[in-house]
């Protein structure tokens, strides 16, 4: 302590000055080390070993220690260290396994002092004892660490790490007898210098080699380690078990790590490969470096703080043959370029939003969210006076919760399940979908469907007079024809629409701004609705008299037979479909196969009935009707779809797209369509609506989308006897040469669809089992199990 204060005063007497500068070396550097007086730096490499004086404006070469005509391998340095007590003493580690000490006080040109040739392999690291003048430690590739007393010719003690190679050794600054060593296999060991027989403590710090470590200059027992796994970890060694306190994830393997003087939480790192920059991290903020030095053009191999009590000067040597002095104030600060806002959805639609405090504070009525602890990391609790660099931003985290219920997406699921997308004439589809929407209280959507019907369908079914009548008269006129459902639900229906709209924007409902926008939308709805909502219903009733009777029922309860309409595709033979659609790989390889061709092919099976019946209608309409042709509206319809998609109701956009088919497809560019399709399918799958999503995929004309259900169509089967996978054919096992799946009804091999009971695991051909279970409730295999087919 006494010594340190002396040094500190020495520094304050003559404060360091300098600027960011660099000088060219003749060869790549492997390591650098600074003299105690902070005025000289030694650079060592395979073919360089020089001392430079650090002057105000430049580096000046002071001494070349590489003397002799034919330099030996002893001079090819892997590491160099300058004694922190004795200005004349240096040590180098050579790649051939020799440890050399140098005495600058020698009068001759050759300053080489002693040579230790005890290591068999490359010596990776040398380290002087921080206070003892004669103690030197080395760690080598051969897995041994040796402690030398410079007054003797041989090593005093040898420590065996029991591992392939030692990467770093560092004396503890605080504990006189302790040193840490890091290993190729990811371990860190703590040794007592007096006990060479076994290590005091060992733990695995990294996955893969630990390249470096550094003791904290002030906090006793803090050790930073850096490894090939791109991590820097800070360990607290004072506790019984080494505890990981901080972890910084860098972008490349960490070659060196050095604590920054006078800044308790800062450390500098450089990497071994690929990344040439030097970073200074605040370990409490492990995602963004506090500062970054970008001067080097090749990997940085050595870093050193110029003075143990000055945090602003960093020296570095690099493979690009330059020696640099970096000034902290010249560093680039990635924090300033980082985006200070963060936004994330929770599982249940909650929204968390973090932003700079200044931004958020302006708005009133918002309390910082206190539910989550982790946010505190962003808060700067109090300014640390020791931090000259305030890299910590303060930000506020707000979490918006959705009201229970309002976030419910049941409307989405219901709509998806009940919509009819194909298999019937357009008019019917539109009517049906409008009805579904209205029943779910989504009047605007219902209105849209009705209007689509009016636009695209033959006026023969909807007399123009009738139309005019309904539009003109409005609600009063429609009243007698309307069902009770409409009357009653008018008000609340709109209200719920508002709520739904809000839930579409999910958790944003709390913000005043969005609230207002939501009401805006609702207002629009109202205006739009007032004119035509009621008559639309009236129209429906008029056209399809039979269904009209069902309405009162519908309003309260989903019609039990309804779902059968929804998936008309089920009626198609499955096989047929598979054969019809072009296979995925063909799409990818055969470029000549244009999307149109494949699209129409894909359509052939599913859309044919719609198309034929529909073209009849529309053609007749276009030919004989004097009203505006549907094409006139296509721009409008397109905008409408865009509107829905932007509102987040991609369901509507896709449904209309499918129902209208060719009529609108050409107006919307392929990419947008594809985007809509994929979003909708993604949504459907999140709600486990596999059938619907599959139907949508099938009905889509976009090439990329229709490929979706041709991917991963393989079904892997295991043999029921030997439990081995059946590789070649699905029904005969190669190993036990038996047929694996027999039909319990006809006792033949099942080669196609196989259905089995989950209770007794008997089964057989789908058709056979279905037929059997119509007549009998027991298992056809005779096991007595009461099978159910659903």
């Amino acid at each position: 302590m006494e010594k340190m204060s002396r040094v500190t005063t020495a520094l304050s007497g003559s404060a360091l000055t300098g600027r960011t500068m660099h000088c060219h070396l003749d060869a790549p550097a492997n390591a650098i080390s600074v003299c105690r007086d902070a005025a000289q730096v030694v650079v060592a490499g395979r073919s360089i070993f020089k001392i430079y004086a650090i002057e105000e404006e430049q580096f000046v070469e002071k001494l070349n220690l590489r003397v002799g005509r034919k330099p030996s391998l002893n001079l090819s340095c892997a590491d160099v260290v300058w004694h922190q007590m004795d200005e004349n003493l240096l040590a180098t580690a050579a790649t051939n396994g020799v440890v050399v000490t140098w005495n600058l006080g020698r009068p001759s040109r050759n300053k080489q002092d002693q040579l230790f040739t005890e290591h068999k392999r490359t010596v990776n690291k040398v380290c002087f004892h921080p206070t003892e003048a004669h103690v030197l430690l080395s760690g080598s590739q051969d897995g041994f660490m040796k402690c030398f007393d410079l007054r003797r010719k041989d090593s005093v003690s040898t420590f065996s790490g029991q591992s392939e190679s030692v990467r770093d050794v560092q004396f503890s600054i605080r504990d006189y007898f302790t040193f840490a060593s890091t290993f190729e296999n990811g371990n860190v060991q703590l040794w007592d210098i007096r006990r060479p027989d076994r290590c005091e403590r060992m733990f695995t710090a990294h996955n893969g080699p630990v390249f470096c470590c550094d003791w904290h200059p002030e906090d006793r027992g803090w050790l930073a380690t850096g490894g090939r796994d791109k991590m820097v970890k800070v360990w607290d060694m004072t506790t019984h078990r080494a505890k990981e306190m901080h972890c910084v994830q860098t972008i490349a393997s960490v070659a060196r790590v050095k604590w920054r003087p006078e800044c308790r939480h800062h450390l500098a790192t450089c990497s071994m490969m690929v990344d040439h920059n030097i970073y200074v991290w605040d370990v409490r903020r492990p995602f963004v470096p506090a500062a970054m030095f970008e001067e080097h053009r090749d990997v940085t191999t050595g870093i050193a703080w110029r003075h143990p009590h000055d945090p602003s000067f960093l020296l570095s040597g690099s493979k690009d043959s330059t020696l640099c002095q970096h000034l902290f104030r010249d560093a680039s600060q990635p924090v300033e370029r980082a985006n200070p806002e963060g936004l994330c959805y929770g599982l249940f639609g909650d929204l968390a939003f973090a932003a700079k405090e200044s931004l958020v504070a302006a708005e009133s009525g918002r309390k910082p969210y206190a539910g989550d602890r982790r946010h505190t990391i962003f808060f700067k609790r109090k300014l640390d006076p020791a931090e000259p660099f305030s890299g910590l931003a303060s930000s506020a985290l707000s979490v918006f919760e959705t009201e229970p219920g309002s976030g419910s997406m049941s409307w989405f699921v219901d709509t998806a399940e009940r919509y009819a997308l194909a298999g019937r004439p357009l008019a019917e589809l539109c009517d049906h979908n409008a009805k579904v929407a209205r029943e779910l209280g989504r009047n605007q959507v219902a209105q849209t469907w009705t209007m689509l019907r009016i636009i695209y369908c033959s006026p023969g079914l909807v007399p123009s007079a009738n139309l005019n009548h309904s539009v003109g008269k409005g609600s009063s006129c429609g009243l007698p024809l309307m069902n009770s459902f409409n009357l009653k639900d008018m008000g609340p229906g709109l209200g719920s629409e508002t709520r739904l709209d809000r839930s579409k924007g999910d958790a944003r409902s709390d913000t005043a701004l969005l609230d207002s926008s939501a009401t805006l939308i609702t207002n629009e709805d109202n205006e739009e609705t007032e004119g035509s909502d009621v008559p639309a219903d009236y129209l429906l009733g008029d056209v399809e008299g039979e269904e009209d009777e069902l309405y009162p029922l519908d309003s309260e309860h989903v019609h039990p037979e309804e779902p059968e309409y929804v998936l008309p595709q089920e009626a198609f033979p499955l096989r047929h479909e598979i054969v019809d659609t072009p296979s995925g790989p063909e799409h990818l390889q055969d470029k000549a196969d244009s999307p149109h061709v494949s699209g129409s092919e894909a359509d052939a099976a599913s859309l044919a009935p719609v198309d034929s019946s529909f073209s009849l209608l529309s053609v007749s309409h276009a030919l004989y009707d004097s009203r505006l042709p549907p094409d006139f509206f296509s721009v409008l319809v397109r905008d409408m779809l865009r509107f829905y998609a932007e509102q987040g109701d991609v369901q509507m956009a896709v449904s209309v797209l499918i129902v209208l088919g060719e009529r609108v497809r050409k107006d919307i560019d392929e990419q947008t369509q594809e985007h809509w399709y994929t979003s909708y399918i993604d949504l459907l799958q999140r709600f486990c609506l596999w059938n619907v999503s599959n139907e949508v995929v099938k009905l889509s004309t976009s090439r990329a989308v229709s490929c979706l259900n041709q991917a991963s169509t393989t079904l892997h089967v295991n043999c029921s006897h030997c439990k081995r996978p059946m590789s070649s054919r699905g029904w005969v096992c190669d190993r036990c040469h038996r047929c694996a799946s027999m039909c319990a009804v006809c006792h033949h091999v099942v080669k196609g669809l196989f259905v089995w009971c989950q209770g007794c695991s008997h089964g057989g051909h789908l058709q056979h089992i279905m037929k059997w279970l119509e007549g009998s409730s027991h298992c056809p295999a005779g096991c007595g199990h009461l099978c159910e087919y659903s």
């Binding site: 090819s76 068999k120 490969m273 690929v274």
Partner: protein
């Protein structure tokens, strides 16, 4: 397969050693009978391998999990003498062939074919031609390199250099491949390809080095399989080892009792381990020792009495069977001794400046995730694998011997370790072994059973397979180091 030798043309399908070829030229009527090969290896008696196999559940498990073909092929059978290693080998191979990676599956197998073709390794070519077709490769590509996309063809240059003279790879080669253009490679793709190339060059060394036999039940020829499957000259397979060997050693080393040979080797190892620092060796001498070793490796091949042919005879060898040549461009390009080029003295690769652990790993793992860990494990496994036995002796520390083998291979590719005394190589590796190492590592297609038999006659076959594994991995690492260094230089 049309075996039986009734048709003289069938004999031409075999690569014949030059000796036999000379004889054949003299007497055209000589009919060479087809050897009856049994077991997975032509060098190792079947029972040696099979015995080990039947016991081993572990191997079967590994094969099931990691084999691409789903069966126990001959390579695996021979390697299963070292199950520990086999696991890391199969895992890394499976990963580069089947798991997530930047290259499509057929590409990977085609690259394997290209790599194997550089050493005319019909075994690997056949294997991967099959796999190539199985994974949906376009059959037309198998007609030869003219039929493959330009992009794949561009790999030829780097394939050729890697296989024979990896030290010539420069960042310009890499730049040429990744330069933006129609046929460019992305870096991850390139790294994947390089890993595959290095793996299959090295594996070809293993196949020839341990005399792997063709698979016994080749599937019905699909027209692209090569007919010639065995590259070992019949004279090797037919001869009676004991007699031949005696004459071989007699001519080369004088009559040394092989037992005392082994004892002497162990004695030398012990001495090296114990008192290493007989401080007479100056640094200059260390340097010269490496140079000496490098130069000496030049003459190593001519030491083989049966294969001491003038250079011109090698040119004959270079003429490939047409089947293989369709995958090869510039077939005349072969290994050339690193030390030979007097005028343009290429700098030695300093191992400490670019190590696998520090640099190679980081780069590979960055561009082709996870393969680094698998390769790392494999290299470490092969480097540390030991049973502490030598022939009949137990409890022997074989570290020095293993290191000598590893470093000798690297030495032939011009990689030098500062902390290694290359004098050790001379003390530990006898001449016949050096011949074998050099052949296996540099031109494996010339390996003969005689070479295999002539070294370390006291040692077990499993130990010789161990040697082969070391050679294979050392070679792979050397190739990778050169290629990755070039990529790193390209990046900086």
């Amino acid at each position: 397969m049309n075996r039986g030798g009734s048709n003289p043309a069938a004999a031409a399908n075999y690569l014949l050693c030059t000796n036999c070829r000379k004889v054949l030229r003299k007497d055209k009527r000589i009919r060479v009978s087809q050897p009856l090969t049994r077991g997975p290896s032509a060098f190792i008696p079947e029972k040696e391998v099979v015995q080990a196999n039947t016991v081993d559940e572990r191997t079967n498990f590994l094969v099931e999990e990691y084999s691409t073909s789903g069966r126990l092929d001959n390579i695996t059978q021979v390697m299963s003498l070292h199950t520990q290693y086999l696991e890391s080998f199969l895992r890394s191979q499976f990963y580069m062939l089947r798991m997530d990676g930047p290259l499509p599956l057929p590409y990977r197998h085609y690259i394997a074919v290209m790599a194997a073709a550089r050493h005319q390794c019909a075994y690997l070519i056949n294997m991967h031609v099959d796999e190539f077709l199985k994974t949906g490769g376009i059959a037309e590509w198998l007609n030869g390199l003219e039929y493959v996309p330009q992009r794949l063809r561009n790999l030829n240059e780097i394939n050729k250099l890697l296989a024979h003279r990896p030290w010539l790879i420069t960042k310009e080669h890499i730049q040429k491949l990744v330069k933006t253009g129609e046929h460019n490679w992305s870096l991850p793709e390139l790294v994947h390809a390089v890993v595959l190339l290095a793996h299959y060059h090295a594996l070809a060394s293993f196949v020839f080095g341990s005399g792997i036999n063709p698979e016994r039940d080749p599937e019905i020829s699909n027209g692209f399989r090569l007919i010639s499957v065995n590259n070992f000259c019949v004279c090797d397979l037919a001869n009676d080892n004991s007699i031949e060997n005696a004459s071989l050693t007699g001519s080369n080393f004088g009559i040394v009792d092989s037992l005392s040979e082994l004892e002497a080797l162990m004695e030398r190892m012990k001495r090296l381990q114990e008192d290493r620092d007989d401080e007479g060796t100056t640094q200059e001498e260390m340097t010269t020792r490496f140079e000496k070793e490098k130069k000496e490796s030049l003459f190593v091949v001519s030491g083989d009495t049966f294969h001491s042919f003038p250079r011109s005879d090698f040119e004959d060898d270079v003429v490939l069977t047409a089947d293989v040549s369709r995958y090869v461009e510039d077939p005349g390009f072969g290994y050339e001794d690193f030390a030979r080029r007097g005028e343009e003295h290429l700098p030695t690769f300093r191992a400490q400046d670019y190590t696998w652990e520090n640099h190679g790993f980081s780069l590979v793992n960055r561009l082709y995730s996870d393969i680094g860990h698998l390769l790392d494990e494999k290299f470490r496994m092969v480097y540390t694998l030991t049973y502490n036995t030598m022939a009949t002796h137990e409890d022997v520390d074989t570290t020095t011997l293993r290191r000598a083998l590893f470093n000798y291979v690297h030495c032939m590719f011009g990689i030098r370790y500062d902390d290694y005394d290359y004098g050790e190589v001379n003390q530990l590796l006898e001449r016949s072994l050096k011949v074998y190492i050099k052949t296996v590592a540099c031109y494996p297609e010339r390996t003969t059973k005689r070479m295999y038999d002539s070294y370390w006659r006291q040692f077990k076959h499993s130990e010789k397979v161990h040697v082969n594994l070391l050679l294979m991995e050392a070679r792979m690492q050397a190739e990778l180091l050169y290629a990755l260094r070039a990529i790193t230089r390209h990046l900086t």
